[in-house]
């Protein structure tokens, strides 16, 4: 077990004390729940204090903590009746989540979030110095209402890497924003499995008139399958943008090139990637897909010669 330092423990006890004072006492289980600790940790932390006194002594210069046999915590702490200022991390985190939520349609129906953020900015930061753009597409609200009401939907979905539109009937569980895009997690009755759909590729959302009882199995059920192939590509340093744009299996430097390994979900994904990387990139291990770049370039060039 890693031994915690005073720097780790002190902020925690300094957060617990005013929280308990404000409530005129609390049960250990309540403190544990609020501070995301187990009850033994809370008890150990509080019991370690018991009574601290400083000169000139007296009731205004002490910190006393009593834990009774029922787990009730009483605190006398005249010097710590209010919470500490936000740390830079806390201030940033609170404003970031608030501002991000403002970008989710329907998240601030009564305007209370916007006014709360205004008040926070007066204390934490400067107005308009932090912005979070979650870019919810037009179709978002319709999906959000259906998700909350557990309505079964029919959607048209464009699969970029099969380059086709298919009609699906889905039981929506949750809308998730990740890496700047919104996704719909749902059970697909056509594919008979859990699928993640990019919201900006969904069209023609229709209510089927049914509600669903499908059980959300959680995010783990939506991890991409193992049907992807690993390919190896040599890219020039000019193409280092790929390091940020895609999750890579590995990257090694070789003279003036980067050798990357990347999981590809199909030929079209690889084609598009190679077209974007250009002629300075070459496939070292094509995963059995062949020289997809030259084939795709030739096909696209034919469109320009008409």
């Amino acid at each position: 077990m890693v031994r915690e330092t005073v720097e780790d423990r002190l902020p925690r006890i300094l957060a617990m004390v005013p929280w308990i004072v404000e409530r005129n006492g609390a049960y250990i289980e309540e403190v544990a729940a609020r501070f995301n600790l187990n009850e033994e940790q809370v008890a150990a932390e509080l019991l370690a204090v018991q009574l601290y006194e400083i000169p000139p002594y007296g009731p205004d210069n002490m910190l006393g903590i009593i834990v009774d046999e029922d787990g009730w915590v009483g605190v006398e702490a005249p010097l710590f009746t209010r919470a500490r200022r936000f740390s830079p991390q806390e201030g940033f985190g609170l404003l970031a989540t608030g501002k991000a939520a403002l970008g989710i349609p329907g998240a601030d129906s009564d305007g209370a979030l916007a006014t709360a953020i205004e008040k926070l900015e007066k204390v934490i930061g400067q107005r308009t110095s932090l912005a979070i753009d979650l870019n919810a597409p037009d179709i978002f609200e319709q999906l959000q209402i259906a998700t909350e009401a557990r309505n079964r939907l029919q959607i048209d979905y464009y699969s970029k890497y099969r380059d086709e539109i298919s009609t699906r009937v889905v039981d929506p569980f949750e809308l998730v924003a990740r890496d700047g895009r919104w996704y719909l997690r749902a059970y697909c009755l056509v594919a008979k499995g859990h699928r993640t759909f990019r919201v900006d590729r969904i069209d023609n959302v229709l209510e089927t008139g049914e509600t669903h009882e499908s059980v959300d199995p959680g995010h783990e059920a939506f991890v991409p399958g193992s049907d992807s192939m690993i390919v190896k590509i040599a890219v020039s340093n000019d193409n280092a943008w790929i390091l940020e744009a895609y999750p890579l299996e590995s990257v090694t430097e070789n003279d003036d090139e980067l050798i990357i390994s990347i999981a590809v979900t199909g030929k079209m994904f690889l084609e598009t990637l190679m077209l974007r990387l250009g002629s300075s990139a070459r496939l070292i291990d094509d995963g059995g897909y062949g020289n997809v770049a030259a084939e795709a370039a030739s096909r696209l060039l034919s469109k320009y010669s008409r």
Binding site: A15, Q89, A100, K119, R276, G278, A296, S298
Partner: protein, 300 residues
């Protein structure tokens, strides 16, 4: 732990700044002032500072001339009254339940201002990953401290005006030798150093939301040009929904779309992402560039 907590209590309860020797003597936490006790005090002071507690220092005058005075001010330690209504506290809790930060920073802050009542699950959740060092950059923005870091191999001295999260990435917007620029936070190299607080004034009309175009094709230093792109019927509706202006719809359902461009590389990436469904028609330089790009790939 006990001595450090008591030192904090002593400094918080003191009505005036004190020299080290006064603290050693009056707090009754240390032995007679000698090198070992002074070291102990320094370690305790550093521990408090590492825990985020600001201890102000000043050089004494008169009888205390040359000595450093130490003080913790209430305004530095305690959270001021934010004046949040119960509805506003709840709105912040709901916001935190809808936005999953990779860290517990928001939860730690909420403990200080809200009750933590259980909330129903939200139908929409945004996952937000703070880049390394983002809180330090925001601290610089809010305290108007210049930041110093390396970017694209060049040492920079930036007046940071704001932070923007767009397209899954964090950007710092600020002035680099008088020129307004955006810096992708994950590309900042090495350690970020902060200058003095209050070191500059941000423009009064600055709004981070407008610091960068939401369209990657318009994020660039080049003069804006308009490209005309023909999109086939299969993709016409989907493409037109996100970008450009339809100038012609053909009988077969294909469209001609005018797309403003400031970043030719981003345009090429977008066009090639449309694969067989789109061709650029004009201007000539972009058309020729696209054909040359594809020809070189074909010739590999």
């Amino acid at each position: 732990m006990e001595r450090v907590t008591k030192l904090l209590m002593f400094l918080l309860s003191s009505s005036r700044p004190m020299t080290r020797d006064e603290i050693l003597e009056r707090s009754e936490l240390y032995g007679p002032s000698n090198e070992s006790e002074r070291k102990k005090f320094r370690r305790d002071r550093e521990t408090l500072e590492s825990a985020g507690i600001e201890i102000r220092t000043e050089i004494g005058l008169g009888e205390q001339a040359g000595s450093t005075l130490y003080e913790i001010l209430e305004e530095d330690y305690f959270l001021p009254d934010l004046g949040l209504s119960v509805k506003e506290q709840l709105a912040l809790e709901v916001a935190a339940s809808m936005v999953q930060l990779d860290t517990a920073w928001d939860e730690q802050a909420l403990i200080k201002i809200a009750d933590g009542e259980p909330l129903p699950p939200s139908p929409a959740v945004a996952q937000l990953a703070p880049s390394a060092g983002i809180e330090k950059l925001y601290d610089a923005v809010r305290s108007r401290a210049k930041v110093y870091f390396d970017y694209r191999g060049v040492p920079r001295e930036i007046e940071p005006y704001g932070l923007l999260h767009r397209g899954g990435n964090w950007y710092l917007h600020g002035s680099d030798s008088g020129e307004r620029k955006n810096f992708k936070v994950i590309r900042i190299q090495g350690e970020v150093k902060l200058g003095e607080k209050g070191g500059f004034l941000a423009p009064a009309d600055f709004d981070a939301a407008n610091a960068m175009s939401s369209d990657p094709l318009l994020i660039g230093d080049e003069k804006e040009i308009v490209a005309t792109v023909e999109v086939d019927a299969f993709m016409a509706k989907r493409v037109a929904r996100t970008r450009g202006k339809i100038v012609k719809t053909n009988p077969d359902g294909s469209i001609l779309l005018e797309v403003p461009v400031r970043n030719p590389m981003a345009f090429r990436s977008w066009l090639l992402g449309l694969r067989d469904h789109a061709v650029v028609v004009e201007p000539k330089e972009i058309l020729e560039d696209t054909i040359q790009w594809l020809t070189e790939i074909k010739g590999q």
